[in-house]
């Protein structure tokens, strides 16, 4: 039982990384990115291609993984910034339809582009045994080294994002445009630029999530929608506008799924959905809401 719980918490760490970007975009501009999961998969494939390229030059191992990881982050930031600036900003407004259709269309485009380029085979990033290494804990328990690292990264990313949102000048502008766009603009903020910065940061988180997902298990072009649903559930369970809430929501989802898998492999994800819907009925504002909706 303790092992299931532990596995669930570690799985939740990964879900937290899936969800943080979504949480940030929800919080700053109420934008529902339907292609969140597909961008995670896209980032994973980008990393796989880059690693293949680096391996062809001759460098191998952890050094190349770190190089690619570090390179991927600014590229993702630029991609997210440009996407928001030139495409998504035009779809924002009272009517949720345009942004939903555009991101949903992007999701279909990404899935089919990946399918055409890489076929439907699942792929992964080689970690030289890191993904099978485990730590022995007292009581005969063992946990994987990689999941523990991912969990630590999730805590670090959540703390960093919460600090950025609450204590930095950029975070202040995020909160300002989130609370009242018109007034923030009167005060001299360029809301479109602020939105683009938020999406840029969200895409850095998406890239991290994609690389870790491909290291921990595999990715295939059709995986996106499932990842989107997990990310969404974590954000809503946790409550809007609170990153620690998203973290808690992701852990609850991970533990629930793991318990479900333990009972019957066919019901794990189903049980996660049910707990999400139950939270929605009992506490629609989420566990730790911060912003008004």
């Amino acid at each position: 039982m303790i092992e299931t719980l532990l596995q669930g918490l570690l799985l939740g760490g990964l879900y937290c990384l899936f969800a943080l970007g979504q949480s940030l975009m929800f919080g700053v501009m109420r934008l529902t990115n339907t292609a969140q999961g597909d961008f995670i998969v896209l980032a994973a494939f980008a990393a796989i291609v880059a690693l293949t390229g680096v391996a062809a030059i001759g460098t191998v191992g952890a050094a190349s993984l770190i190089t690619v990881g570090v390179l991927l982050l600014p590229v993702s930031f630029g991609f997210g910034y440009a996407l928001q600036r030139f495409v998504l900003n035009g779809t924002l407004g009272r009517d949720p339809l345009p942004s939903l259709v555009v991101t949903f269309g992007l999701s279909i485009v990404i899935q089919n582009l990946l399918l055409e380029t890489f076929s439907a085979d699942p792929r992964s990033i080689g970690t030289e045994g890191l993904n099978t290494a485990s730590l022995a804990l007292p009581g005969g328990l063992a946990v994987g080294v990689l999941p523990v690292l991912i969990f630590a990264l999730a805590i670090a990313a959540t703390a960093a994002l919460q600090w950025l949102f609450g204590h930095s000048a950029l975070g202040r502008s995020f909160r300002a445009v989130s609370d009242d766009r018109e007034i923030a603009e009167l005060m001299g903020l360029d809301a479109k630029k602020v939105y683009a910065l938020a999406t840029g940061i969200a895409f850095v988180l998406i890239a991290i999530a994609g690389v870790l997902q491909a290291m921990r298990t595999t990715v295939s072009p059709a995986d996106g929608p499932a990842l989107l649903l997990f990310a969404f559930e974590a954000v809503i369970i946790g409550g809007m506008g609170s990153f620690w809430g998203t973290f808690a929501g992701a852990l609850l989802l991970g533990v629930t799924q793991q318990i479900g898998f333990r009972i019957d492999p066919g019901w794990g994800i189903w049980l996660g959905h049910i707990v999400f819907l139950a939270v929605l009925v009992v506490r629609p504002q989420g566990l730790f809401p911060k912003t008004r909706e």
Partner: protein
């Protein structure tokens, strides 16, 4: 108060011209609308008699093609009602498509109900299930509603995938139609598809022209203002959600009577909603003509380009993005704005009494 007592009250129902202020009358019909009604009736008559006039070597494949596009169309029509008129953008309508299909199959295979009679029953089941589902889905609004409904559809997909009586994840066949020969089955399915298309258009059109339809348009334009005028916003949204679920279930039940085989991944595939969104957005959202135009375009694209597989789907996705950003009103919206066409007029227009103009 006393001043107000003497002024003539304006009746709520403006179907009659007497309700309008003096010198004005309310007009809804257009010339295009009367022409369209005639052409529409001719088309329906032509479609209904297809088995009589179609060349024998084509009749079977034409009917199959019609049944398939009819399912897409009915489903898109209902998505348009929900999103375009009800303001509820859902990515989870495939839940009702699948429920309609599975209910029809279960009634046919296990309860001995004639599958053709089970088709409307499948639609009723979808409508019934929509009531408790709405209780959960309505906790969310806007973009969150869209993904929340997707989660709900996934709950049904995973649920049916775990029921071994209907074949679990790999699905099962509609064995109830075994005794009926192919020709009879095809004609019956085809007749049903024609009836469903006519019923879907009529249902949505009459609903929107009714007093409830007027209330719905008021809610779409401004929910708070509509509520202040005494409209039961929540009740109206529920009504639309249930009607859309009924239509979605009808499309699903019809599709799987024609297809004879069902599986959770096919029945609850998000692609159903994706194609509906595509048709509605391309044709023009919030207009009855929209899904009709969209379905025709989708049919043509599907016929000539679906062999390209992934590139075809990629193109559909791109087209939806481009239309949403640059031509928000879709094809019919453009025509309506440019030429004032309206085949299914649901707005009430005020015209001067003295100089009647019908177009």
């Amino acid at each position: 108060m006393s001043a107000g007592m003497n002024t003539p009250s304006v009746p709520m129902d403006s179907r009659t011209t007497t309700g309008a202020a003096p010198g004005l009358r309310v007009v809804r019909g257009t010339r295009a609308n009367r022409v369209a009604l005639g052409v529409g009736l001719l088309l329906v008559a032509g479609a209904a008699t297809l088995p009589l006039w179609a060349p024998a070597e084509h009749a079977s494949s034409w009917m199959r093609e019609f049944v398939e596009i009819a399912c897409y169309f009915v489903f898109a029509m209902m998505w348009n009602l929900l999103a375009g008129y009800g303001g509820m953008v859902s990515i989870g309508q495939q839940a009702f498509f699948g429920i309609g299909g599975y209910t029809m199959l279960a009634l046919g295979n296990f309860a001995g109900v004639n599958p053709f009679i089970a088709v409307p029953l499948g639609a009723c089941a979808a409508a019934l299930i929509a009531i408790p589902v709405s209780f959960v889905a309505f906790r969310l609004a806007g973009g969150y509603f869209a993904i929340g409904t997707w989660v709900i559809a996934d709950v049904f997909r995973l649920g049916f995938a775990n029921i071994s009586a209907v074949g679990g994840g790999s699905g099962t066949s509609l064995t109830a139609l075994r005794g009926i020969d192919k020709a009879t089955r095809e004609i019956a399915t085809y007749g049903m598809a024609v009836a469903c298309v006519v019923a879907a258009v009529a249902l949505v059109y009459l609903f929107l022209r009714s007093k409830r339809g007027l209330a719905l348009l008021a809610i779409r334009d401004n929910a708070v203002a509509a509520e202040s005028q005494g409209i039961d916003v929540r009740g109206m949204k529920l009504a639309v959600y249930v009607v859309a679920a009924f239509g979605g279930g009808l499309a699903g039940a019809l599709y799987f009577v024609g297809n004879l085989r069902i599986s959770p991944d096919a029945a609850f595939s998000v692609n159903w909603t994706a194609f509906a969104i595509f048709m509605v957005v391309i044709g023009g959202i919030g207009k009855i003509e929209g899904p009709i135009v969209g379905a025709l375009i989708f049919w043509a694209l599907n016929k000539y380009f679906s062999d390209y597989g992934t590139w075809y789907l990629l193109g559909l996705g791109l087209l939806a993005i481009v239309v949403t950003i640059f031509f928000k009103q879709g094809i019919w919206g453009f025509l309506q704005q440019r030429y004032g066409w309206s085949l299914f007029p649901t707005q009430r227009r005020l015209l001067p009494q003295a100089k009647p103009r019908l177009d």
